[in-house]
Amino acid sequence: MNPNGKDAPAASDSSAPPRRNSKKPKYSRFTQQELPACKPILTPGWVISTFVLVGIVFIPIGLSSLFASQRVVEIVDRYDSTCIPQHYVENALAFIQSSETNKTCTRNLVVPKHMKSPVYIYYELDNFYQNHRRYVKSREDKQLRSKKYEHVIKNCDPEATTSNGSVIVPCGLIAWSLFNDTYGFSVNNKAVEVNKKNIAWKSDRDSKFGSDVYPKNFQSKGLIGGAKLDPSKPLNEQEDLIVWMRTAALPTFRKLYGKIEVDLEVNQKVKVVIQNNYNTYSFGGKKKLVLSTTSWIGGKNDFLGIAYLTVGGLCLFLAIRLKAFKEFVSLINYNCFGGRAISIIIILIACAIYSLWAIHPSCHGTEIQLDI
């Protein structure tokens, strides 16, 4: 194309003697922007095979994870409303805040399927904002880690010191609001032992919570938040606290309470004695007790399986019905005024939102399997 650019050097090279101080830029592929490059373009074959491949990979994965999730046996029991005596229903807050009321509550659960040990016991809180900014910041990792930082309470307001100014260990709102409902399990009137060891992350026990840090002045202020801690046990053995202090990102969350290390048989009746101490009534939060087995994918969560199946199916559909899509696109092309890209994105977003919310676990009836 550029005969001048190319011919001129050759011509003058032959005519003019080679210059010693030539200012000709040094040639290299980088400086001339001539690095070898692969230039893929979107050919139909390429695009279709990508979609087919994705579909083929996604559907088996989706199926297997859905299967795994379905194999998890889960018992969910909401007890916050039922564990209030009849005459307190109108005044649940007074019930929970009073120190005189009997907070013991008994629930009977039926095991729907065989539950292989270990069976994990979770408590589920709902509408509880552990991720609220005021709450999530109110802790002091240094103080938790080592005795020598006992006085570091920088972030712990408003639960940093007692009214007389002495330091609270562990300080902060998170520790202060530690969950304090307790569960006792018995099957066929025989108590089942709940293993509360190793329910927290090992890394937390080893390096985040010190073995030389003992609770001090905890829950000694006028307002009692949640559970009290045994002042004779170092923090790294207070596993309920460690679990609680791993704050949840969502307002609905489950935290591990303990493990039952025996199998539960089908139709076995599990009697749970609950000490309903924790106040969720003031903000209308639910409390649930969850017994669950586990699988390679974790607990019962159909989201991945369904999402994989949907996406894989869509990809296959897309790949197979490209022609139909062509008409769809041309339809949009002619109906829209320039904003076709945006409109397609909006449609896809809408599809995505719809499909994702439709399969959100909370919309399904998995909540209460058994309610006696």
Partner: protein
Amino acid sequence: MMKRYVYINDNELSGDLYCDNRISNRKYTILNFLPKNLWEQFSRFMNQYFLLIACLQLWSLITPVNPASTWGPLIFIFAVSATKEAWDDYNRYLSDKQANEKEVWVVKQGIKKHIKAQDIHVGNIVWLRENDEVPCDLVVLGTSDPQGICYIETAALDGETDLKTRFIPSACMGLDPELLHKIKGVIECPGPDKDIRRFDANMRLFPPFIDNDLCPLTINNTLLQSCYLRNTEWACGVAVYTGNETKLGMSRGIPEPKLTAMDAMVDKLTGAIFLFQIVVVLVLGISGNVWKDSEARKLWYVQYPYESPWYELLVIPLRFELLCSIMIPISIKVSLDLVKSLYAKFIDWDDEMYDFETNTPPHATNTAISEDLGQVEYILTDKTGTLTENKMIFRRCCINGVFYGNDSGDALKDVELLNAVMGNNPDVIRFLTVMAICNTVVPMRSKTGGITYKAQSQDEDALVHAAADLHMVFVNKNANILEVNFNASILKYEILDTLEFTSERKRMSVVVRDFQDGKILLLTKGADEAVFPYACSGRQIRTFVEAVEQYSQLGLRTLCLAWRELKEDEYYEWSSMFKEANSTLVDREWRLAEVCQRLEHDLEILGVTAIEDRLQDGVPETIETLRKAGINFWMLTGDKQNTAIQIALLCNFISPEPKGQLLLINGKTQDEVARSLERVLLTMRITTAEPKDVAFVIDGWALEIVLKHYRKAFTELAILSRTAICCRVTPSQKAQLVELLKSCDYRTLAIGDGGNDVRMIQQADIGVGISGREGMQAARAADYSIGKFRFLKRLILVHGRYSYNRTAFLSQYSFYKSLLLCFIQIFFSFISGIAGTSLFNSVSLMAYNVFYTSIPVLVSMLDKDLSEKTVMQNPQILFYCQAGRLLNPSTFAGWFGRSLFHALVVFVISINVYAYEKSEMEEVAMVALSGCIWLQAFVVTIETNSFTILQHLAIWGNLVGFYIINCLVSAIPASGMYTIMFRLCKQSSYWMSMFLIVVVGMGPVLALKYFRYTYRPSAINKLQQAERLGRPIVTLGTVDPYPRPTDKEVASLSITQPRNRTSVYEPLLSDSPTATRRSLGSAATPFDLFQSTSRLSSSYSRNCKNN
């Protein structure tokens, strides 16, 4: 006003009163660098914004993250900018140092000494030799010329390339060089100022030199800093202003930094994002406060106090302001600066723009405006030296009515002329004599015996050489005696007077005494209109007028030669007047011109010379390609109309009949010009509908009237017309035209080679200088300098276009990635009680912008959407850049939508997969962050057109780097992320989420891109397909929705033509040599109307906007 007294040659009295001659262009000193630089950086809005954000973050109540996440990048960015400034300043220091340490001869204690330029003090006597640069402002005291004249070139000062004459003050007249060493005196002059046209001072020499006479000094007695001494063996002068107090130093200013259209667009988008941010902050802040009062008070575990400080209402909005502050990417400026300097480097490195002939590589002086090259809409070009080689060759002549050289095209080979010379034809000999000696050329005999000529003007050089070829050899100039060797006999002439060339007079004459017969002759040469009116009335000059006409239609430069015999007494009478005029102090030039005219009359026209200024290689092709690319060309030249039109025809500037049409705006009075302009405008409005090349032609005189009185109409004309030829324009008019086009919001590029183009080059959005024969002034003032005009094609189509495309991607991508993270934060705030919790920790936030996302996108500066060859073959594709198709609010909306969609995908998948017992904050945050990183790697991949090894390394290496960095951070027990990454990597659900995020996020993007690519491809896509699959490019023609109206063309022609024929219509030569070439050249044009319609509509809308 401050006065300064300069004691000549007296160190004691002048002493240290004034600064020495140390030049300093430095902006900073070591001490003031930090405060001054910081102050400058903080005067930009973006930086103020970031500083405000960073300061707000110091308030721990509202900061969502560690302040380091903003302070870190901010300090880094400031450090980078400061380093760049420091480096530039250091380079300025180096060049100052070079100037300061230049050795000059200065008289110290009566002895000439070699000292450094910086040690010159006021009052020192400085000696200069020929071609020396004047180191400071001097008052001339002596020169080698007995008449006390010296010549200087002032191009570096005012851009005028003609030599200027300077005189020694009358008081110093006739002083011996030896005496000049000892001269003493005092000069009383005003304090330093920047007026280079005024120097009102007087001088008094001390005894024993002259009595106590006060001698007035003017600017004509000065040698100003940065001028060059020319054609004078030596000169000496006393320093009056030194260092930064010289006229040049006082007028030196740092030029306004040029802002590209793209920068402006990025700024606009930033502003839009800022507004969006404010809206988000207000909405979230208000709803956060409402939620707090209605819901959060019930959350006993949050312990909201019931009594709150006065600023309580502000806390949540400010928290959101900080959370959303990442919307405006702090890294964008650094990234852009970085890639821009690489674009400039690519230009510097470009092999194909290297000019072998002159050994000049291309150079980008301004590293910040490469994208603008891709958006050029108007090119304003100089003619001489830019389109042409500025290498004058004598081609034809007409002597006494006989045309020579018409057949062969070279008069030097015309046998008839050679015979006439041999036959001592008196007319021819007189003609040759004028050619040989009516000039200011100095012959130099080299050691080998050959003669070289030193000429200030290329035309004179050509004439003298041609005369020599015709055996009239100008061999020697000894003082006032000229020797000419004609046919082996030496003819001697004595120069009595030289009537200099000025641009007003447009002619020059010499008065010589012929030694052979003792006659006094007046020899004149000049432009036709400056010579013919003074021809003796009886003579027939018709053939000469025809010759001039004919030659200029061939694009040749014409000069008329004439002579007259003077009577002795007539001459002596005139000579005394001339001497008197020569020594006047007021209006000398005007007086001289008047006196000269008294002699230059009743001339006998000898003939007309025609000099060819050859077009540079590749000029027509370049102009044709660029015009196809939709760029409009305006030619601004000082040459005469016919020559300009012919050159324009030759280089495809305008098309010959019938395709092209020229409209002439002329007239001497305001009324005539107005009528002419009106007619042209009318014609132009009608013809814009036709696919016709319509150009208007205007000359300097009419232009002046038009710009003064009819600016609005002319602006409309400028918008309508794709081509214009402006002839006889001055440098300031050139700049005015650039200004006019700029005011219509067009991107202008000015290209020129001479000092007279400097103003236009500086005025234009992009200035390109051709480092050519007329020196380097233009190249130095320009943003880009190239060796030849033809490289402009590559500069615009390759470098400009790539730069535009790359920056368009880079800037929008920067916003995309920032918005992506920001949207996730906003979504998260809805599930965290609208309290302004940050999902991500400080480390991640900081590293996201600085490391994870900046490296892959930086390699996009290697991306090429089309190969250089394809672009060159299809210059129309530049339209996408010119029209800003790749970066505008709607493409930005696309990226905005994409980031919203991706944020939604990442957020929904993360919180659903990591729900219930897995919903641990750090884990969810890391899943979301990884999702963003994966997505952005694929976004870069899908938006990259060509992958080199570097791109693969950056994109995938970055992804690996992300995991390495996070694993390292996860290994630190003290960090909040301790063990998180290890835990996640072991979970199958983590990898499944990543996979899902990528497919859900990229699937629609890929599908959309594919559908668009296949069913609604842009011209770029079509060319890509053609290029990579080897399909014919012709398919592109279908892009044009409007068929070419071939029948209409004929019909409308008949309407417009009669009207035009009257006076506006300018018939063009149809037998011009280009006619054939043109038809050959335009054979393969796949899509002619590719853009004309849309361009026009866009220009109309712009016009409306402006008026």
